[in-house]
């Protein structure tokens, strides 16, 4: 028993390193634990899958940070790839963080949109617009006067896709991807209008927005990495979301093991009177 107690003294080292090993192994050797699809994610998929290709553009807002990227990027990539596969047009902006423009460019580079779509006709990248909630409110009422140029210096009034956009009525849906905690800006300022509203946010934010989903203000959502993985499965664009699911499962299991181990060790300590 004394050897166990000796080992406990190095607990921080062991607990951390076992976590790292579990994460690496689960990524390198996927177990393929099945992922069930939840209703909110299915709602997003069904909407985009039935939206006619000649619809008004989607408004995608990249409101996540580089740090939040692992959790939100899978859902964003899957949604954009799905939109491209269906021929849906989209406008990309960002109001939550000034990293939006760089994240938007990496989205364009990695999604293959530049190979299949024509810029200005099928998609437009506005990038970051400062102002927070004021901007979100202003975009709904008077998009054209808030946004004058895109991220590449083109006037939006010169681009075929954006020249006729005046307000919320000129979009077929709004989908913010948020880890910066600004999703409520969109909920407050866009759900009062009659526009389909979807979103992606961190798993920790789900309890906050589920109330809006139940009331019908939010039509569907993808919660965290799991939501992204579900959307990847639905669309068939499998990527980091699905790959990370085994890692998430095993680290959650490891948390349980750590909890049990910690309490066993405490029991032993107490028994030995240490």
């Amino acid at each position: 028993m004394s050897s166990l107690l000796e080992g406990v003294k190095k607990d921080r080292f062991y607990v951390s390193w076992i976590l790292v090993i579990i994460m690496f192994l689960s990524y390198l050797v996927p177990l393929g634990i099945p992922v069930t699809i939840r209703d909110p994610t299915r709602e997003v998929y069904q909407f985009l899958n039935t939206l006619p290709a000649d619809s008004k553009p989607l408004l995608l807002s990249l409101d996540f940070t580089a740090g939040g990227s692992p959790e939100i990027r899978p859902s964003m990539m899957a949604v954009v790839k799905h939109a491209i596969s269906r021929g849906l047009k989209f406008v990309v902006i960002g109001i939550g963080t000034d990293e939006s423009t760089a994240l938007m460019q990496s989205l364009f580079d990695d999604s293959g949109v530049e190979d299949t779509y024509e810029y200005g006709v099928d998609y437009v990248g506005i990038g970051y617009i400062p102002g927070g909630e004021i901007t979100v409110a202003a975009l709904a009422q008077d998009f054209s006067s808030v946004v004058e140029t895109d991220a590449y210096g083109n006037k939006v009034s010169d681009l075929a896709l954006t020249k006729d956009i005046k307000d919320w009525k000129d979009f077929s849906a709004v989908i913010p991807f948020d880890s910066a905690g600004v999703h409520m800006f969109w909920v407050r300022n866009w759900t009062p209008y009659d526009i389909p509203y979807y979103g992606s946010f961190t798993a920790g934010s789900e309890p906050r927005y589920v109330a809006f989903y139940n009331s019908g203000d939010i039509d569907g959502y993808m919660a965290g990495l799991r939501g992204g993985a579900e959307y990847e499965i639905l669309t068939g664009f499998l990527s980091t979301g699905v790959k990370s699911m085994d890692m998430q499962s095993l680290t959650h299991l490891y948390a349980f093991v750590v909890l049990v181990a910690g309490n066993v060790v405490l029991y032993v300590f107490k028994k030995e009177g240490k």
């Binding site: 607990d11 921080r12 607990v15 976590l19 634990i33 099945p34 992922v35 069930t36 940070t65 580089a66 740090g67 939040g68 990227s69 990293e99 423009t101 760089a102 938007m104 460019q105 990496s106 580079d109 990248g125 990038g127 970051y128 617009i129 400062p130 102002g131 927070g132 004021i134 901007t135 409110a137 202003a138 009422q141 008077d142 006067s145 808030v146 991220a151 590449y152 789900e206 309890p207 906050r208 589920v210 109330a211 139940n214 799991r226 699911m245 085994d246 998430q248 499962s249 095993l250 959650h252 299991l253 490891y254 948390a255 349980f256 750590v258 909890l259 181990a261 910690g262 309490n263 405490l266």
Partner: protein
């Protein structure tokens, strides 16, 4: 103009006008209100953009002061801060964030560092679970442990693979008790925001001016002497 007029009355008047117009625009239809509201929102976007420049100037002045007086233990950190800050500003101005070089810097510096920084608490979290989470047979601990296990197993696919019952339990907890508690919180916060906004518009709430109490005319005169 007295100090009270410039430091209190004018700012309060400005906020009352802006807040009043935005509030009225939401409830009433006249075109003039809509136009005014729209212009004020655009002005808000502009002011927000300007605040970034103010921030840049502020942080530069603060760091310069610390560097010039060789603040012990931190002056070199401010040198590093300013160097990185201005490298990003210059690269951003020259290349813009959509350029390949900016993208390379962004992916290899900001993204990598940011994600590494956010991953560190995960290690501490596991160690904290190991060292601090002691299960006791008390109602609070039992409830906490049950929630912890439910989140662990129902949130990840493994839970559903072990027992399908996790999903409906999680769904009920999220949709019934959690959603109702959230609704209560959202409504309470909204009422609080309405109250605070009205107090600000009517000039009752003035702490945003940096003053807790407006000096009386007598106090002002006394200060002048």
């Amino acid at each position: 103009m007295s100090r009270q007029t410039t430091k209190v009355f004018l700012p309060v008047l400005l906020v009352a006008f802006a807040g009043g117009v935005i509030l009225a625009e939401y409830f009433f239809a006249p075109q003039i209100l809509s136009t005014l509201g729209s212009e004020l929102k655009k002005l808000g976007v502009l002011i927000f953009s300007m605040s970034m420049i103010v921030g840049l100037v502020g942080i530069s002045i603060n760091s310069y002061k610390k560097i010039s007086r060789r603040a012990p233990g931190e002056w070199y950190l401010h040198v590093w801060l300013l160097a990185l800050l201005y490298v990003w500003v210059i690269v951003g101005l020259i290349y813009t964030p959509t350029h390949d070089f900016y993208q390379w810097l962004f992916a290899n510096f900001i993204t990598a560092l940011y994600q590494a920084m956010l991953a560190l608490p995960a290690m501490s979290l596991f160690v904290a679970i190991y060292r601090s989470y002691k299960v006791k047979f008390e109602l609070n601990t039992i409830l906490l442990t049950a929630s912890f296990l439910l989140v662990l197993f129902a949130g990840a696919p493994l839970g559903e693979a072990i027992w399908t019952g996790f999903t409906p339990i999680r769904s009920w907890i999220i949709n019934v008790p959690t959603a109702s508690a959230e609704r209560g919180l959202i409504i309470t916060m909204a009422l609080g925001v309405i109250g605070l906004s009205l107090r600000t518009i009517f000039g009752i709430e003035r702490t945003w001016l940096g003053i807790l109490r407006v000096p009386t005319a007598t106090e002002e005169e006394g200060e002048g002497e």
